[in-house]
Symmetry: D2
Subunit: 94 residues, 4 copies
DNA sequence: GGTTTATCAGTTCCTC
DNA sequence: GAGGAACTGATAAACC
């Protein structure tokens, strides 16, 4: 393919960068493989990375919001520990 | 389009169901609009719905895993208060 | 869970609709299974459904745009048929 | 954060690569901006890039499959002119 | 191998 | 209306 035309040049540059990107993604993948071999849970690791990217503080705020809504829903009744907690508070058995 | 052919019949059926699906999605969207008008945070609501779908218990286990990893990273220094408030309310350690 | 609170009521309604939606998605999936059993290619079917949703005419316009860009790139050289076409036009052998 | 622990080291490495990746993505985005300023349609460009990644030949086979199904649906009535222009240029039937 | 899961790209929506 | 964020749908992969 020639690069005489502008569109060709643009797409060439894009594809070059996409190749670089693919190599980096490969590297990341390999680290996760290494982590798994060392007994770490990669799913959790990925969540941790995402949380750090977002900002730990912001994440904590989100959690509090979620917990607030869950509390309003009385959803703790869905969980064994939650049941006992409610029971302790209210004296009502579910 | 005719429905004499088999492929036409199949696609007709699919498109019918997809229409039904779109109507339901519309309904869901309207509820979120109503919720927002009533001062609720729809992003948090969506997370709560997802958590309930996954199972609250499972979600709490995930949180514990994440917090464990974060603790190992020394990241707790970033979150002085952490989840103590929720813990106090529910007796559940997140 | 009670529905005394507003948030609970909203989420109840959302979850009801999500259940309906899931049932419909199940139905769609079954049709694709049936189609596959009858020898149809479900991947192609999904694309056809998407094209019809978008509008066949609009899709044709998109194709023309794509082909125009591809033509400017001289990408036909990448394909056997394309080579002969270029060869016919230019008299140059690749 | 310390890197004394293994998990910390792994996550450090991941985050380093993710930073590199983000920079590259930034670069790609800038090229698309430049392309748009020069009058190109970036949506079409992205599709072209995807097609080249997949392989032009494979893409043309997909198109043929789709057109076959569409023909069986009688949908060609919707597209009087069809792909005749492209066909004339390339000798490739889509 | 086949099903479920996870990552990815594409679309859409909302905000500014 | 442009930009970014969120959600959906599709492909690829991993586990059973």
């Amino acid at each position: 393919m020639t690069t005489n035309n502008q569109i060709g040049s643009l797409i060439d540059r894009i594809e070059g960068l996409m190749l670089d990107k693919a190599l980096i993604e490969e590297g990341i993948k390999e680290i996760y493989i290494e982590a798994k071999l060392n007994g770490f849970d990669t799913k959790t690791m990925k969540k941790v990375v995402a949380i750090r990217k977002q900002g730990v503080k912001k994440h904590q705020e989100e959690r509090q919001m979620i917990d607030l809504y869950i509390k309003d829903l009385g959803m703790l009744a869905d969980t064994p520990l939650g049941q006992s907690a409610i029971q302790r508070d209210t004296g009502v058995k579910f």
